[in-house]
């Protein structure tokens, strides 16, 4: 079962992104099948599939769909292609290699939920990927797959548009995304009401991640039970795990949702560069709590990683070898959240900059042991006190790095310098040249 590739089977084939190639491999047959089903039966298959959101929260997709109020129209679908969580680089490959899989997933979802207008919100930095999507959508429109009649047969009009962002991590947060799509700055909204009830332009809106929606054609074609069987318990299917950092074969690997983290790093990603030991692993994007190298023999399934004290999040695995300075690593993570805090809530707006400043001082030998405690206090004051999850996302790395690697922070404070000197970050250029090779994805 573990060899089944739901998402990446066609990656790397010549012209895999074209409509012709997609159709030759059976593309849009699932949409055709869906048109012959009761919409409620499609939703039922997705519920049975145990598909959980691939954007980071891991919320059950079928359940989310049932939150739409029954009698309010229009409804909208928004696909989140804002992929910005450091360590995450999977949705872009779906878009680059198989954009019609996403278009088909959107079409099926819209038919199932009686939605006639869908937007793909893609981060501004993905220029090439936005062009790939626009091309695929234009092909689908020209072929009559979307437009006034879905697949040229069903009396159901459907349009899909690409909306490019302009550089703001916060717009991956679903309510900030909606604000941005409405032409405003990306300030997250207070919830409830949730977007499924009050979303885009005040109307019920389903927001799903690219990878989540890309699974839908397979589920319709093979049935929800078959998808559930690829995974374990209440988590169905496979996932695209991205592995980056100090590994020999960084890349995206499609594996069952419950694949072993250590195996992913040591076997699929080829182990650590130079055969060095693993000091730490961030398992699900930079906001997920860090694990020590001796804590990674775990299943990547959402609940299993949670039980291990972290989050499977967006599936972005970042590997740090034994030479890494954890203070320097955390200082960079803290800088990111300080840069990206939208400024709406005081604890996050102020606290993220405080954390960044204290961490810079610790790294550069200008901080005392008392500052380490102050850093923790600031993190604890942000967590749980903000409108959106960015506050928690900024606090969790700090809390977990201090818990797992406190001795390194104290050592910096006591020595009044970084014991790693200038060598705490990164591979040398020579090692990098040895590692750099063809782009790796899947298998």
């Amino acid at each position: 079962m573990s060899e089944t590739l739901v998402l990446s089977a066609r990656w790397g084939k010549p012209n895999s992104a074209s409509l012709e190639s997609y159709r030759a491999d059976g593309g849009y047959a699932a949409l055709d099948k869906a048109l012959g089903m009761e919409p409620s039966a499609i939703v039922e298959e997705v519920k049975k599939s145990n598909l959980r959101g691939r954007g980071g929260a891991g919320f059950a997709t079928g359940l989310k769909w049932t939150f739409l109020p029954k009698d309010v129209r229009p409804r909208y679908l928004t696909v989140n292609a804002d992929e910005s969580e450091p360590g995450t680089f999977k949705d872009r490959y779906i878009i680059e290699h198989d954009p019609h899989m996403l278009v088909e997933g959107i079409a099926i979802t819209c038919v199932a939920l009686d939605i006639h207008l869908a937007y793909i919100y893609i981060r501004g930095e993905f220029a090439k990927q936005a062009r790939a999507l626009e091309k695929a959508i234009a092909e689908a429109r020209a072929a009559g797959i979307i437009g006034p009649k879905v697949l040229g047969k069903k009396d159901f009009d459907l349009d899909i548009h690409v909306h490019r962002g302009a550089g703001a991590y916060i717009c991956g947060e679903e309510s900030a995304l909606l604000e941005s799509l409405e032409g405003k700055k990306g300030y997250p909204r207070l919830k409830p009401p949730f977007p499924a009830v009050v979303g885009l332009w005040g109307k019920p809106t389903i927001i799903n991640n690219v990878e989540t929606i890309a699974n839908i054609p397979w589920i319709v074609r093979n049935g929800g039970d078959a998808f559930a069987a690829l995974g374990v318990g209440k988590s169905g299917g496979t996932r695209l795990f991205g592995v980056s950092g100090h590994v020999n074969r960084p890349g995206v690997y499609e594996k069952p949702v419950h694949y072993n983290l250590k195996k992913l790093i040591m076997e699929d990603a080829g182990g650590v560069v130079g055969g060095r030991a693993i000091k730490a692993v961030i398992p699900g994007g930079s906001s997920s709590p860090v694990l020590r190298g001796d804590e990674i023999d775990i299943s990547l399934e959402f609940d299993a990683v949670k039980a291990a004290g972290s989050m499977s999040g967006s599936g972005g695995v970042i590997v740090f070898d034994e030479s890494t300075c954890m203070v320097r690593a955390l200082a960079r993570i803290a800088k990111f959240y300080a840069e990206e805090s939208c400024g709406q809530c005081t604890p996050c707006r102020e606290g993220t900059h405080w954390m960044e400043g204290i961490l810079e001082r610790i790294e550069h030998g200008h901080a005392s042991v008392a500052d380490v405690a102050k850093l923790e206090q600031v993190a604890n004051s942000i967590a749980g006190n903000t409108i959106c999850a960015l506050g928690d996302a900024a606090a969790m790395p700090v809390q977990s790095f201090l818990k797992k690697f406190r001795h390194e922070f104290l050592e910096h404070a006591e020595l009044r310098r970084c014991p790693h000197g200038d060598h705490g970050w990164g591979l040398t250029q020579e090692t990098r040249d040895a590692v750099a090779g063809p782009v790796r994805y899947a298998r």
Binding site: E85, R123, E125, G242, G245, P250, F320, R332, W425
Partner: protein, 169 residues
């Protein structure tokens, strides 16, 4: 809603006409009563045509989208890819976030500062390049990465960076 025949104060007439033509295409993506949703694409278009998102460009976009200049300013100042001040002929943005720095992104940024004779983020004396650090570009598996004029370059080395810069006169 088009109240200005030619354009907003200080903007060249032909470019304003081009803006209006291209904006009309963009607006097809949004319901007719939701024109303000096109604020980001409108400001990006303005940046492409007029060089940067000046107050006059903000006023133009706000006018055409039927909203207030303050709404345009709020958006222009919020998003990092919208430039509210003039910048170099080419914009070079190097990712120094975790996965890129673990594979040498911070060194590349230091190298570029040295090569372009800049102490930090800024524009070269000849106005050719504006350099700055970028946040995660979603290229962690092909790190280190950078954007030049919004096109992404991955698996970078110093030699590759030299070549890429040479292609941007």
């Amino acid at each position: 809603m088009t109240t200005h025949a030619g354009g907003v104060e200080g903007l060249p007439r032909e470019k304003v006409e081009q803006f209006d033509r291209e904006l009309a295409e963009i607006l097809k993506r949004y319901p007719p009563d939701r024109k303000a949703s096109a604020m980001i694409p409108a400001l990006r278009l303005g940046q492409t045509l007029f060089g940067y998102v000046s107050p006059a460009v903000q006023a133009l976009a706000a006018d055409r989208l039927g909203t207030s200049p303050s709404r345009a300013e709020e958006v222009a100042s919020f998003y990092v890819m919208l430039e509210t001040h003039p910048f170099g002929r080419h914009l070079v943005e190097v990712c120094t976030n975790v996965s890129c720095s673990l594979t040498g992104g911070d060194r590349l940024y230091a190298y570029l500062k040295q090569k372009l004779a800049l102490a930090g983020a800024g524009t070269t004396a000849d106005g050719r390049f504006t350099l700055r650090e970028a946040e995660c570009l979603g290229a962690c598996g092909t790190a280190p990465a950078m954007l030049v004029d919004e096109e992404m370059y991955e698996q970078l080395t110093q030699q590759k960076v030299d070549k890429i810069l040479g292609e941007h006169p």
